[in-house]
């Protein structure tokens, strides 16, 4: 046994050793790769590669992007959720790329024509090769769509299921026909969610073998995935399109928001994503700024049509709820004015510009309530989660206060995530629910969720007139006529007010002053667009 004093000396030595060891320089960015220089770009493309300013200044730079949670899957047929798909869409080439107006622009699909309501002819861009040498051609497209049909993947890779794709016919090496069972008016939308994968690599290897080693043709190549820690991508030097500016991208998993902000301020990361509005100002520092983006998610209070609360079934009551809440005040005071009020439940540019806004008018609200037979108000509960979107409790409380001011006895019920989602799924909501739907630009989906009995129609709103127009829109091939029907549906549903229409969900990012990157409103992370300043 050691003597007492010897014990103390040992402790001191160990403590000193720890202190010395820990004084090693703090881990910063991953040092630039020291591997041999990559080969010059293969001149295999039939068109000359596009030289941009970025390629002229191609540095060894690394971009570190911090996310709150790890990706779930990097199999292109399985990837779902913004982070997964953003990574896959950097590694793989999509059939089309969605611009910020929600329009699908040609990419792998160089052009497409609708030959008849059920048949789409797609011309595939020539000269794209996967990084293992396989060519991206009609066979690859057919293989991709068929692999997506496997039960394993069917619920994630959406194009075949959503468009009711019956068959992919190969016409020649670079032409395919997509044949659907019913007219698929959303086909172009889904092109922008369809990465194309190499048939041999994904066909000849088991699902498990390739699940964590994606291989494709896109601007970046997969390097490694250390679970729950980081994912590393490296620039594809043989890419057929414009070369991205950053040689390496590292997605670091940092669950705690304050840690993301601290790392940003310390200069250890370049982008801190998923910041909340109240912490956002912390992202402003000597080396970084907070960037606010008006997102696409439509925040609202759903008004349950099937709860025991009968008052909610009267249209006048629902409109009264809309007039009772001062949305501008909440946006300005709580959300720092960083977002816009909803003009419709359909996102621009497809919103009907002639809808009458529900201004803040408590007198009108009281009048409507009296007309509906509730001059003394009624009881209602506002259900929601504690931290789904930011300031959740504050917003629900503020809404409750506005309702109380017009005589409605509103209470707030905060529910656990899974319990809330169950109630949503089973349409067992008890009154109003704080939620955000459909962060996309696609009027067919945005209207779908208000049709009778739809699985996401949590409030169970049902108007046969609305559904009639919807079915017409589905089978209408003329885009102009579809838009007209879209506008008509909005008039009906806006007036019916199945929701208290609130605002677009604002998103905040902390971005290093050394990089030039505009986060997208739809939340996809397309880092090939980022460049060092």
């Amino acid at each position: 046994m050691l003597k007492h004093s010897l014990y103390l000396i040992t402790v001191l030595i160990v403590a000193l050793g720890m202190l010395l060891a820990s004084c090693a320089p703090a881990a910063t960015k991953v040092p630039p790769a020291t591997e041999a220089p990559t080969e010059p770009q293969a001149p295999a493309a039939t068109e000359a590669p596009v030289i941009t300013e970025a390629s002229a200044a191609m540095e060894d730079a690394t971009l570190i992007y911090a996310v709150p949670a790890d990706a779930r899957s990097l199999d292109p047929s399985r990837a779902a959720g913004r982070l997964d798909v953003s990574i896959i869409y950097s590694i793989c080439d999509l059939m089309a790329i969605r611009d910020t107006n929600g329009v699908s622009q040609p990419h792998v699909a160089e052009s497409w024509t609708r030959l008849d309501p059920l048949t789409w002819e797609i011309k595939i861009r020539k000269g794209i090769t996967f990084t293992n040498g396989e060519p991206l051609n009609a066979e690859a497209v057919k293989f991709t769509m068929e692999r997506a049909r496997i039960p394993e993947f069917n619920d994630n890779y959406q194009l075949p299921a959503q468009t009711k794709l019956k068959e992919v016919k190969i016409i020649d090496d670079y032409t395919v026909h997509f044949i659907t069972e019913e007219p698929a008016n959303t086909m172009e939308f889904w092109f922008a969610e369809s990465p194309i994968i190499p048939p041999k690599y994904y066909g000849e290897n088991s699902i498990d073998a390739v699940a964590e080693k994606p291989l494709c043709s896109g601007p970046y190549k997969f390097v490694e995935w250390v679970k729950d820690d980081h994912i590393t991508l490296e620039r594809n030097e043989d890419y057929w399109g414009p070369k991205p500016a950053f040689k390496r991208i590292i997605f670091r998993v940092i669950p705690e928001e304050s840690a993301r902000i601290n790392e940003l301020r310390a200069g250890n990361i370049d982008v801190a994503s998923a910041l909340t509005l109240d912490q956002a100002p912390q992202a402003n520092s000597d080396v970084s700024i907070a960037k606010y983006v008006v997102g696409l998610r439509k925040m609202h209070l759903g008004i349950s049509q099937t709860s025991t609360n009968e008052a909610l079934r009267d249209k006048r009551v629902r409109q009264a709820l809309n007039y009772a809440i001062d949305k501008e005040a909440i946006v300005n005071d709580l959300l720092g004015g960083k977002t816009t009020i909803l003009k419709s439940y359909v996102n621009p540019p497809n919103n009907n510009p002639n809808l009458k806004p529900y201004t803040y008018d408590p007198e009108k609200a009281k009048a409507l309530l009296a007309e509906a037979g509730y001059p003394n108000g009624f009881d209602v509960v506002i259900q929601g989660r504690a931290s789904a979107y930011g300031f959740d409790k504050e917003i629900m409380t503020a809404a409750a206060e506005y309702l109380k001011a017009v005589g409605i006895n509103a209470t707030v019920e905060v529910m656990e995530n899974g319990v809330y989602l169950d109630a949503l799924d089973q349409k067992k909501l008890a009154g109003l629910n704080w939620h955000g739907w459909a962060a996309l630009i696609n009027p067919i989906v945005e209207n779908l969720i208000l049709t009778c009995g739809h699985v996401d129609n949590a409030v169970d709103y049902c108007n046969p007139e609305f559904d009639k127009l919807y079915n017409q829109m589905l089978s209408e091939s003329d885009p102009a006529k579809r838009q007209e029907l879209n506008f008509q549906m909005q008039e009906i549903a806006w007036d019916d007010a199945p929701w208290v229409f609130l605002w677009h969900l604002p998103m905040v990012y902390g971005i290093s002053k050394d990089i030039d990157y505009e986060p997208r409103p739809d939340g996809y992370i397309f880092l090939w667009e980022a460049r060092p300043k």
Binding site: M1, L2, K3, H4, S5, Y7, L8, T10, V11, V14, A15, A21, S22, C23, A24, A26, A27, A69, R72, S73, D75, R78, A80, G81, P151, E152, N154, D155, N156, Q158, A161, Q162, I207, D208, A211, V226, K227, D228, D229, R252, V253, I254, P255, E256, S258, A259, N262, E263, R265, A266, N268, G418, V419, L421, D422, L424, D425, A438, V455, D456
Partner: protein, 305 residues
């Protein structure tokens, strides 16, 4: 001894079977995981297909039967969300948590034993008050708050240590120290009271009257006996530390099993929840067994039946 160990392991098996049943049924009572798994735009047919594929449309007792059958073959199933085998997932995250747990235990032991002895010897002096108060503070301080304060002071302001992540030794320091704080406080106070108890024993007086030096009395007679309860408690604490590091792992972005377990809870990823809890119960059973055996080795008066 060997029969004792075998019997304990056998009992442990039933414990862990009971735990797995509990977590199986409780997990499924919390609600439907499908919604959390599929994209927002998934159709009703797609959701039903997922439900069928994962076997969630079967009656619950049949699901349990399938689960037991797989368990007998050592198959913990696959994560609903990641498609990885649960055993692979859980085992790949163990090293990170083990590293954190072991290092924080080491800090706890190295600091609390001498500190506890010191304050025991200096009983009722200012040193004692200081030491005991610090120990109490260590136990009482919420560890996520402490972690954040340490990050602000040592990582952000002084820049001596990194802010988060795992990889270098420097990144291990702050999370391990934070995790060690609560055990440190507890063990210091335990060491102190154990030492005080021993110091008042008759055999200590006997040893002194035999003419042994004070340091010999303290170490050979005092310390060895005082350490017994402390070591056994440390053994039990190891199980706690191993499975309870979730908050530290979140604050410091440490990719361990605590985070895996809690994230899977929120996402209703039943196979992973089961895997993590089953593994934890195995760790507890084995560490308790080790502690009991150690106890009998250290104290010959204890006979294991």
């Amino acid at each position: 001894m060997v029969t004792y160990i075998l019997r304990r392991l056998f009992q442990g098996f039933f414990t862990f079977l009971g735990v797995s049943a509990l977590v199986f049924f409780m997990g499924r009572a919390t609600g439907d995981p499908i919604r959390l798994m599929v994209p927002e735009t998934a159709t009703k047919e797609q959701r039903e297909e997922v439900r069928k594929r994962l076997g969630l449309d079967q009656p619950i007792l049949i699901q349990y039967g399938v689960f037991l059958g797989n368990l007998a073959r050592g198959d913990l199933g696959r994560s609903y969300l990641q498609r990885d085998e649960v055993s692979k997932l859980v085992l790949s995250r163990m090293p990170a948590t083990l590293e954190l747990a072991l290092f924080s235990m080491l800090i706890g032991i190295i600091v609390s034993i001498p500190l506890g002895i010191f304050v025991a010897l200096k009983r009722n002096t200012a040193w004692d008050l200081l030491g005991s108060t610090l120990a109490l503070l260590g136990q009482a301080t919420p560890n996520f708050w402490l972690g954040m304060v340490l990050i602000i002071v040592f990582a952000v302001e002084l820049k001596w240590l990194p802010i988060s992540g795992r990889g270098t030794f420097a990144q291990l320091v702050l999370p391990a120290v934070t995790l060690a704080m609560a055990s440190l406080g507890y063990f210091t106070r335990l060491m102190r009271s154990s030492m005080l108890d021993v110091l008042s024993q008759d055999y200590m007086r006997t040893a002194r009257s035999k003419g042994a030096t004070e340091s010999l009395v303290l170490t050979r007679h005092g310390l060895k006996n005082a350490l017994i309860p402390v070591i056994t408690m440390m053994g039990m604490q190891f199980g706690n530390v191993l499975t309870g590091a979730f908050i530290i792992e979140t604050v410091f972005a440490w990719p361990g099993i605590g985070r895996l377990g809690v994230n899977s809870l929120f996402e209703r990823d039943f196979p992973v929840i089961q895997g993590v809890i089953i593994l934890s119960s195995v760790v507890f059973v084995i560490s308790n067994l080790i502690v009991d055996v150690l106890y009998s080795v250290l104290d010959p008066r204890i006979r294991l039946e």
